[in-house]
Amino acid sequence: MVKIRTALILFLFYKALFCADIEFKASINSDKIGIDDVLIYKITFKGIDNPIQPDISYISNFRVIQTSKSSEYRFINGRSSFYTSFDFFLQPLSTGKLKLPPVSYKYKDKEYKTESFAIEVAKGSTKPYTPPKKKSRSIFDFDDDSFSSPFDYDQRQKKQKIDIKLQSFVSKNNVVVGEKIIYKVMLYTQNRIASINMLSNQSFPGFWQEWYPVPRSIDGNVKQINDKIYQVYEIRKAALFPTKSGELYIPALKFELSLSDDSFSFFSSPRRVFRFAPAVKINVNDLPENAKNLSVGNFRFNVSSDKHEININDILTLKLEIKGNGNIKILDIPEFKSNNYFKVYPSKITRSYDYKEDKLTGTIYAEIPISFKKKGVISFPVLEFKYYEPLKGKIITKDSHPIIVKVVGEREMQEGILTLPRSDIVKKGEDIDFIKKGKIYNQDECYYNSTFFKIFLIIPFVLNILFIIKKFIFDNIISKNKILNKKKLINKTIKRLNKVSNYEDVYIILEGYLKEKSGFGLSEINVENIKELFRKFKINDYDTGVFIRMKSESESSKFSPHKKSAVELRKNLKLLIEVLKRVDTKVK
């Protein structure tokens, strides 16, 4: 026991030291298949620790119906390597020559690429599945090492007797569709084993399978069988879920075992033997009619909310959890739909597995972001999750607890801002899944460039300047010019005379004119002074007489009961204006 364990540990240590080479390869099981067949596309990593499953979602000609992962050690030319393989079971979507594009993988800043494959897809099926022939024999019968040459066999017989046996075990032989079966391959040996390598394909038709990770070291038990002591190791384990009813077979699996016997030199290549884990028959019954589309197993279901009071437009994250014993990977979560009150955004779904002794439990954890459109108390609809429990043989319904959320706040729903500002969900490309909606306008259209802006900016400046010009230049300089003032006075007087409707207003206008023109005070304007002034500027007697007469008549007319007619007034004013023009040219 101790020796085998030491050998295995040494083997692992040896591997850790020498597995520096990195390889990334792809292979297919056949380049000619039928449309009803399944193509197995294997991607193998060498020397990469715990690689992530490559993304092949962009392959459009095929549909991925199942994936599986396996790991193993291989000794090649005395060096050990750790291999991890991903098997993709692909269903062709059309006939003809289909192309499988290369798959790339980034590791430590380096990109690795596989080759591309051309697959010819014919109608129907080219490889009908035939179940393996049943062998009725004791599990402790030795297999002949038929892969070794007679010479090797003789040599081994001389050196050491080989006593190695593989056995397949299943947790149940009678199940229903979708029910979990734990499948194990056990190794019984009296020899020391250096490495184990599964050569058969891990894909079993009719089963959806989830392989347990290959352990880095294996602990064995001791068992006595037929008076012989064996070391017993569990070398492979998988959870299988039948996808159809009837008699299904887990095929015989071929393993290559490298011996690590004392009789061999350390430097010589290890002896290899090949063994088969026998095939196992499983009877699969149909699910009851009303349980056909349901998950099978035993689950717990819970929905909770991170908040119970929220503002309009804020994000609330509903947390939905389904945990239990069943095929979590193909289980669909109950759907939440948007309505008039709230909007449901794409959720982030995490599926995880817990590999325990003989159990494979899993959890689906969904975070569903929700934003609210209206105020009020909103009660979320109760979600129903149904599954079929094979042990009880009935359908179990589990309801979520009612969730009540109070939506408050006055903020408007910002149309189109779909990004979740306070979401806890952070994953690559998440924000890229949300785009901006709502109204768009041209942000490059700047007012400062528009003609309107320029006009509105210029007008006040121009007005300002004009006002300043008027105030400081015209009023202070131009308006004080004598010639201009003179012209201005006569024009103003004529304008006022033209507007006169009562004869009595004329003398006021004439006095005003004389006051401005001669510099007399109002009290100084009388007949004598007017005569004196006009004489001084050599104004003829006729004009002087008309001027004085009109002024006097106008003055006295306010006391006269006889008013001049409009025609008479116009005639007089016309005469006065002519006289005034002549006077104005002479009086300086």
């Binding site: 189109g416 990004t419 500002p421 690559k428 490309g429 924000d431 890229i432 949300f434 785009i435 901006k436 909606k437 709502g438 109204k439 768009i440 306008y441 041209n442 942000q443 490059d444 700047c446 007012y447 400062y448 802006f453 509105f456 900016l457 006040p460 400046f461 007005l463 300002n464 006002f467 300043i468 105030k471």
Partner: protein, 248 residues
């Protein structure tokens, strides 16, 4: 005559309204296509709208389309264009962070000092158009005060108010000039090719100082013929051919 011109104005308004509606309709259609996973078709429409409208949402969505189509350099260019029109937005920052993971050169951005951050904050709150309108209103009000002042003589309150308004208008005018300058100046760019030499001067004969790769955001310092002096950080700067970068 007046009737004819009214009809013409109405017609122009109708055309403008219709064209705005058609852009909005196309934008909504492109968004729907994006949500349906038809990124190429969506991108085509967005790029068509971009010929006529520059909007941060549009640029953001174009960036998303390019990202989905694995054209990361273009995605980054459009995210940065979106950021230019909307400097403080978490979604844009987040997407720039995501797209940056696809590029080799990862130079941390220098920390922005308090004053620059303050200016950027103001920029994000007050758009250039808003500043333009404020300036216009201030000038009009100032004019009214000047009229009152000249017409009614020396009123102390009016003088104080007018003086304050005058100083404020001058400050706003300077800020407006700064913003217009910034708007017209394309100061940043993104390197579009891999393994590009940053040289000590404009020309192939100058010494190679650094090698830079696509996706790196750089600041444009000056241009000389077909060469541009850029800096990626306080320590990485040099001359590069203009065709090797795309201005934001």
């Amino acid at each position: 005559m007046r009737k004819k011109s009214s009809i013409l104005i109405l017609l122009l308004m109708l055309i403008a309204n219709l064209s705005a509606h058609s852009f909005q309709g196309n934008f909504n259609r492109a968004s729907q296509l994006y949500e349906d996973g038809k990124y190429k078709e969506s991108l085509k429409i967005y790029l068509f709208i971009e010929k006529y409208i520059k909007n941060w949402k549009l640029f953001y969505n174009i960036g998303n389309c390019y990202y989905k189509l694995n054209q990361f350099v273009e995605a980054k260019i459009y995210y940065l264009r979106s950021k230019r029109l909307k400097p403080f937005n978490n979604s844009i920052d987040k997407n720039i962070e995501i797209v940056n993971r696809e590029f080799k050169d990862k130079i941390p951005k220098p920390k922005i000092d308090f004053f620059s951050k303050f200016l950027l904050r103001i920029e994000s709150i007050l758009s250039l158009n808003f500043i333009s309108i404020i300036l216009l209103v201030l000038i009009l009000v100032l004019n009214i005060f000047v009229f009152i002042l000249i017409k009614n003589g020396k009123n102390k309150i009016v003088i104080y108010f007018a003086s304050f308004l005058f100083i404020f208008t001058i400050l706003v005018s300077f800020y407006h000039i700064y913003r217009v300058g910034k708007h017209n100046l394309k100061k940043s760019a993104v390197i579009v090719s891999n393994n590009i030499d940053l040289r000590s001067g404009p020309g192939e004969n100058n010494t190679i100082l650094f090698k830079v790769n696509q996706g790196l955001e750089v600041k444009i310092i000056e241009s000389s013929r077909n060469w541009v002096q850029v800096s990626a950080s306080s320590q990485i700067a040099g001359w590069i051919r203009e065709k090797e970068l795309e201005k934001i």
